[in-house]
Symmetry: C2
Subunit: 723 residues, 2 copies
């Protein structure tokens, strides 16, 4: 019997900002039992990757874990793999951060385990051809990628039993193809399936290499897998099978492969990730088309043969599909650029290094995209990204601002194409807040950072059609039943459809604009709180998503940003020309800004208007007792942040979040009707479809008549305080 | 009727090293008539791109041309487009060269026409996502790409009637999608087809943009197109149609579009090129599969609907498919790195700038790949690349070497992974030659540069199976018949199959190793000159393509590179262990090197051997009276470089090339049988299948017996002289 080399790589990761109980559960159900199993099976040689995030948590909360790991490393059983410390999508972070993140994890591993890691895990295996250079420059000798990447370059299965070498600007990097088939057999099929597959490889030639590399959470955390892998002993059996066949299955570290055998050849891989990811990165309508095409090919038995030519989209387009992902990314780029500018003068300051670490933590990939995991849909993960980035900015402020400024506060306004849409945004800030305005998109406010708490108060997500909503609409409700597995093994998460709550299909409303703030709506009489909240009303004005003109001025004490537009409001079949102006003013050190609205009827006759200004506050939990609305002078039947309701003739609303320790208030000079309603999304996660509270809309609105050339004026005051 | 904006972009290009008569013909049949037509149609506003190569030729040979162009530019009729001066594949050249090449063309255009170009043509529309940064940094505001690039990201046809904006590390770049359909209707379908298409776009909405951009050679140079476009007046009619419909077809410059309308949105495009290019970049077997798949989809009417998900390979893999392309590319990288290292100290020297210009000329894309054009298969284009690169090196030598070294010569040997295969190569040089050895691949010599003439004497190409050979084998010979067009218009070059010579299918032999030199062959008795020349013999040794050990030593006067291998020679069913050593020596300033061969029988018994050392000399023309073989003391019946024959008991062969002014000689101490035969490839070009002479193999070989532990020794002397 020919020998076959099997390299097993396990990638363990938890996102920045994940709940502590999730870390704890993953520790108890995946990381510890896996390590214990390895300790009992010293012949099972594997390559392990822990992201820096997880390592930091382990070091702090489970001080015994890394020393246990080190023993296996010292014994030569385990090879450690590096990667970006905070698991960023390597291709979309700046060059200096690429290098820095990899070196940070390599250094950590060296310090904690004494091991000099030669390989790196590439987050989500998102490859772009220019990555060979920064990876190599950061010291990596190899990266593991999906075999589909290689097939996209025209290689066949039988050409993937080894590794290749690639190059960029003279830097070389070795690339290992991960066998896709094993991603589905381990641990979802009986161990013999994997052994059979290895036998089929061994039969074809001597000393070929098969690489399995996948998420460690597949062993214990994914639904049903703890019972399957440990209670029912799948992993124990698998390891026993490997040991029983040790005469022909040679477990090998990836770095040993590099030492022992030359590459199979040279290769250049296009921008790619695993097949599912490339599908998710497409617009929803394209996903529908793609699914149809795949089904046709499967029905005709063409899929297996020709799927190498069938390809989805490109990871970076998550930033197009979800402007909220783009917002995070461009905020990250903004902070990284500031940092890079300060490097020459302050690179060795402690604060600079802390800021850099916060920036890198803010590059953690999980909330930048969405596929089978919640990702972008999970507010606590986005919250963590903004917290890290704002903390980085705060530290840079401390470096950059004079003691005088730090005492008295300051005012600053930068005009730049922040979000890469070829239009300018206004980035206003004082010592307490950042206020980012987009003249191009309705003169809206798309980010309001409260610096003392490092929170972006507007970090919400619009409700969008997702390809899987189709499935939800058709789903007759079924509940998860982990005990009974319909097939052998447990279903992979790509095969399951489960809802965590009944009636989710009734929550599928889609927003036609991004849920930012300071959005100027004109309504008609058919509009109700209900249809407005569902985005199923008719907008009467053309002030949302359209371009405003802008100016700003500032003296030492006050800054005024002026946004205005000449637009139209529809009334029956007529268009009424209207001038709308909003003058935002803020002071040096106040966590507050005022908005002076002017609306002018530009026609020769009198007209009635129904106008409101929309704010979307993202305070993480819609249904918690310590998070609630207060309307001073009013008692609310339901004050939860996800409550829906109307308060007439009010002058103030407050949103209290005792957990975050903040209170956000919207005051109006002229009394308004305040609508409030939640934005709740329906998204898929590895454990099924779920409703997620994203934010609470506060919508003060007014009905008024204006004579020819008459103006309506009002002042709004927005403020955030620490509780 | 709604208006539609039509932007026409024409890209004119000739490769570095193309024959002067080709430039002249293209000038007469394409560039001049097109310009004349524009002069007669002042309302036809278009965007023009000429590569720097063509501009330089025009400036030198047709001094009136650019001033005529300038008039149309001044009149606002023409927008000029920049790009890489020498039309490199932007993604595979070093960063500093990317910037430098773009700025050079922009500066040239500014100087010659006064126009500040804002857009750039990207050679072969080969996009990689990280290109946004260097393009933007070099001053480009936009690039034109194929619509297929955008569809690969999941966009639909109706979403491509405008432009998008992309970003990399904070740099933004606008991207225009070229409508694929118009690449086939213009000029290959009657003008009305294009008008009809534009009408269908106009009907769907106001002010949409349609971009046509393609090669200018399509109008006059591609087979049949001069007659079609000018003699039969296709272009005149097309322009008249555009003028006649000027009330709704608005001809617009691409830069005007940027000024007048915002982008349709943000986009990130994967690594891509036009569909055909992505197919050509795949291995031949994958192309066969891809074609089959496409045919199945077409038969089932699925292709049009789903082709956006069907994709071929990745441009950079031409360097994998053709090691000869990789050789040029890595030589280019090698020279670019040397140049970059000298920049700080010598960046302002005239010689440095000249060297840089030669380097950039050596980046011209045409011979780095092969598709429907000859490209890599054309020796004169590869010759030009090496000439430019060696000239650059010569100038860097002049900068770097001391006067003493320049007078006396020098010796140098660098050990590096030159070709990015994870193995080390030896780059030996003296003041007259570079000798590049690959221990890993048979201890071969893969580049021999003769510096005084700037020629790589080994620049040949192996014979490989191409996907279109299948077609050739099946082809009942048809000849080109330009007068009778089977369909309306003329066939596009993607639709034609023509052979330029009969019997080409009888030349389809494939090499199992790359045709480098100093290759150590052991033959068996069944081998003949004929089957050896066709690569249809059985190699008896294991010394070709396998790893040699190496060492080198050098003193002030002589350098010795030693390559050796313990291998085996098959004799019947037995394997005879053999030690082979070759000691290469060269002096400081001699265009000559010696090879001392030692072959030792490591067995206990006597054996017979048939050994030969292969050299492949590439001297551009196989059939010219001023290029021929000389065997001193022998008269050859056929001395052409593509002649095949055997001379027994000879001690020297010379290859004379009076046109290049060089003589290459191979001398042997112990008389040999000299075989000679040509390497001729069969490739496709835009005008049909053609036979191309690549090089002449010189194969001195010896039959000898060796007793146990006995050695055979011989000395070869290789030399090149100027005639």
């Amino acid at each position: 019997m020919n020998k076959v080399n099997l390299a097993i790589g396990i990638h363990n990761h938890q996102p920045v900002g994940n709940f502590d109980f999730v870390f704890e559960e993953a520790y108890q159900k995946a990381y510890v039992p896996f390590l214990e199993l390895l300790e009992r099976h010293p012949k099972i040689h594997i390559t392990l990757h822990y992201t820096g995030i997880l390592f930091k948590w382990l070091k702090e909360h489970k001080p015994g874990f890394i020393p246990r790991l080190k023993k296996l490393v010292d014994a030569g059983q385990i090879e450690m793999m590096s990667g970006g410390f905070y698991e960023p999508i390597m291709s979309v972070i700046p060059y200096r951060d690429k290098i820095g993140q990899i070196k940070k994890l390599t250094d950590f591993i060296k310090t904690e385990t004494g091991y000099s890691a030669r390989g790196m895990w590439l987050a989500e295996r998102i490859w772009e051809p220019h990555l060979a250079k920064p990876c190599a420059e950061a010291g990596a000798k190899y990266v593991v990628l999906d075999d589909s990447h290689f097939k996209n370059a025209g290689l066949k299965n039988e050409e993937l039993l080894g590794y290749y070498i690639t190059e960029e600007e003279g830097c070389t990097l070795c690339l290992f193809p991960i066998t896709e088939m094993l991603r589905y057999t381990i641990p979802f099929q009986p161990p013999e399936k994997t052994i059979e597959y290895l036998r089929s490889i061994a039969e074809k030639g001597e000393d070929r290499l098969v690489v399995f590399a996948d998420d460690g959470e597949k062993f214990g955390i994914w639904p049903g897998t703890y019972e399957h892998c440990y209670e029912k002993g799948w992993l124990e059996s698998f390891f026993q099978e490997l040991e029983a066949n040790a005469d022909w299955i040679n477990l090998i570290h990836l770095s040993e492969v590099l030492e022992q055998t030359p590459p199979l050849g040279r290769i250049y891989l296009p921008a790619a990730s695993y097949r599912e990811m490339m599908e998710w990165a497409m617009p929803t309508t394209a996903i529908h088309q793609y699914d149809k095409f795949e089904n046709i090919l499967k029905e005709q038995d063409l899929h297996d043969k020709y799927k190498v030519f069938v390809r989805g989209g490109f990871w970076r387009n998550f930033m197009v599909k979800y402007p909220e992902s783009n917002n995070m990314h461009k905020k990250m780029m903004h902070v990284s650029q500031k940092l890079a500018q300060l490097e020459a003068a302050h690179g060795n300051d402690n604060k600079f290094k802390q800021a850099q670490d916060h920036l890198w933590a803010g590059q953690c990939n999980c909330p930048y995209w969405h596929g089978v995991f919640g990702g972008l849909y999970l507010p606590h993960l986005r919250f963590a990204i903004y917290r890290e980035l704002i903390q980085a900015e705060n530290l840079l402020d401390e470096i950059e601002r004079s003691p005088e400024e730090q005492r008295r506060g300051w005012l600053d306004c930068q005009v730049k194409d922040f979000d890469a849409d070829d239009a300018e945004e206004l980035l206003a800030s004082n010592s307490k807040m950042n206020l980012y305005f987009s003249p191009q998109n309705g003169g809206s406010l798309f980010e309001w950072d409260f610096k003392p708490k490092a929170i972006n108060l507007l970090d919400t997500l619009a409700r969008r059609e997702e390809s899987y909503h189709e499935e939800l609409k058709q789903l007759s409700h079924q509940s998860i039943n982990e005990g009974q597995n319909p097939k052998e093994g447990v279903p992979s998460i790509h095969e399951m459809t489960v809802t965590k709550e009944e009636g989710l299909q009734n929550l599928l409303f889609y927003d036609w604009y991004r849920r930012t703030s300071l959005l100027d709506h004109f309504l008609d009489q058919k509009t109700s709180l209900l249809n407005f909240s569902r985005c199923q009303y008719q907008e009467a004005g053309d002030f949302v998503n359209t371009a405003y003109e802008y100016s700003f001025e500032s003296n030492d004490k006050i800054m005024i940003v002026k946004l205005w537009r000449y637009g139209n409001v529809r009334s029956g079949s007529k268009l009424i020309p209207v001038y709308l102006e909003k003058k935002i003013s803020l002071k040096r050190a106040e966590p507050e800004f005022k908005i002076d609205y002017v609306i002018k009827n530009l026609t020769e006759s009198k007209h009635s208007f129904w106008f409101g200004s929309e704010f979307d506050f993202a305070l993480l939990a819609g249904d918690a007792p310590d998070r609630y609305f207060v309307f001073p002078g009013h008692t609310l039947e339901d004050a939860r942040l996800r409550s829906m309701g109307e308060i007439a003739n009010a002058k103030e609303v407050q949103l209290k979040d005792e957990w975050l320790g903040i209170s956000v208030s919207v005051k109006v000079d002229g009394p308004a009707t305040f609508w409030r309603f939640p934005i709740e999304t329906v998204s898929q996660s590895e454990s099924g479809f779920e409703r997620v509270y994203q934010s609470s809309v506060v919508f003060p609105n007014w009905k008024f008549d204006l004579e020819s050339n008459e103006t309506w004026q009002n002042r709004l005051v927005l403020r955030v305080d620490e509780l």
